[in-house]
């Protein structure tokens, strides 16, 4: 029985344009790679409840396209799409990343896997074309209101009174 790794993802903002996510899994590298790159797997875990996967297509080759469509609880759809730039099973993929709602927020997502003693470390680096893109991303990938909340907080921090919310 392995211990739970829930909640162990590390998120870093190494510079203005990048988001770096690291997480370990008790699974062999080939399986982790499949679960992240095969539509029959991604459609099982990719959507945040109550969202559901409506469509998931992945053409896993250089120049191949992928498209994920989600349906939210209220029936609205959103989708992510892009093109694979590098495909190196089972260790690495590089793909463009576009959220249909924010065509400006284009990013390049590098997914890298490394296995040691049966534990596979996943590293995802999202490199945004510009800072506005990164900020959109942090708003729209599942936490619709977080950017608004952050903006309010930062405004209050930067305001002349400097009052912080209690």
């Amino acid at each position: 029985m392995t211990r739970s790794r829930h909640g162990s993802a590390r998120i870093e903002f190494p510079n203005e344009l990048d988001v770096l996510i690291t997480r370990e899994f008790d699974a062999p590298i080939a399986l982790v790679f499949d679960v992240m790159t095969k539509p029959e797997h991604v459609s099982k875990w990719g959507a945040t409840p109550p969202d559901q996967t409506k469509e998931c297509s992945i053409d896993l080759r250089v120049g191949g396209a992928y498209h994920h469509v989600f349906v939210a609880g209220d029936g609205t759809e959103c989708s992510f799409r892009g093109t694979y730039l590098e495909v190196e099973p089972p260790i690495r993929t590089v793909k463009t990343w576009l959220f249909d709602g924010w065509p400006d927020a284009e990013a390049v997502e590098t997914m890298q896997l490394h296995e040691t003693d049966g534990v596979t470390t996943l590293t995802v680096r999202l490199a945004f074309r510009d800072k506005a893109g990164r900020d959109h991303m942090t708003r729209f990938d599942g936490q619709q209101d977080s950017f608004d909340a952050m903006e309010d907080i930062l405004r209050s921090l930067l305001g002349p009174t400097g009052t912080s919310p209690s």
């Binding site: 829930h6 998120i11 997480r23 008790d26 399986l31 599942g142 930067l158 400097g162």
Partner: protein, 115 residues
């Protein structure tokens, strides 16, 4: 460098790895510029430049003591930023936890079908 009164300032301020190291160094308490220079093996002009950026966005404050300038954190100003980062982190955690559960389920299925 032009200073714009936008919300990006705090992010710009903490986006620089050296500035995050300075914030870390100040976690232990108020420090003189010279102490930070010694702690981080940076040059005095570099540290001063970073401290100026951090002061401008209100993440650190400064007071004079004799001929020394002592810097300290404004923890109340950092806390909301931590809270926001924690929420973003939670979103990723939920997503990757779902993937983890799915991986474990696949492996359980595989091992039970082997027997």
């Amino acid at each position: 460098m032009a200073r714009s009164p936008t919300t990006s300032d705090v992010f710009n301020a903490i986006a620089e790895v050296r500035r995050r190291e300075i914030l870390d160094a100040l976690m232990a308490g108020e420090k003189a510029v010279g102490t930070i220079v010694a702690d981080l093996s940076l040059s005095q002009p570099q540290v001063s430049k970073h401290l100026r950026v951090l002061s401008e966005v209100g993440l650190v404050k400064c007071r004079a003591q004799g001929r020394h300038r002592l810097y300290s954190l404004e923890p109340a100003r950092l806390r909301p930023l931590h809270e926001w980062l924690a929420r973003y982190e939670q979103m990723w955690n939920e997503r990757l936890d779902r993937m983890d559960d799915y991986l474990q389920e696949l492996q359980r299925r595989e091992s039970s079908s082997d027997t």
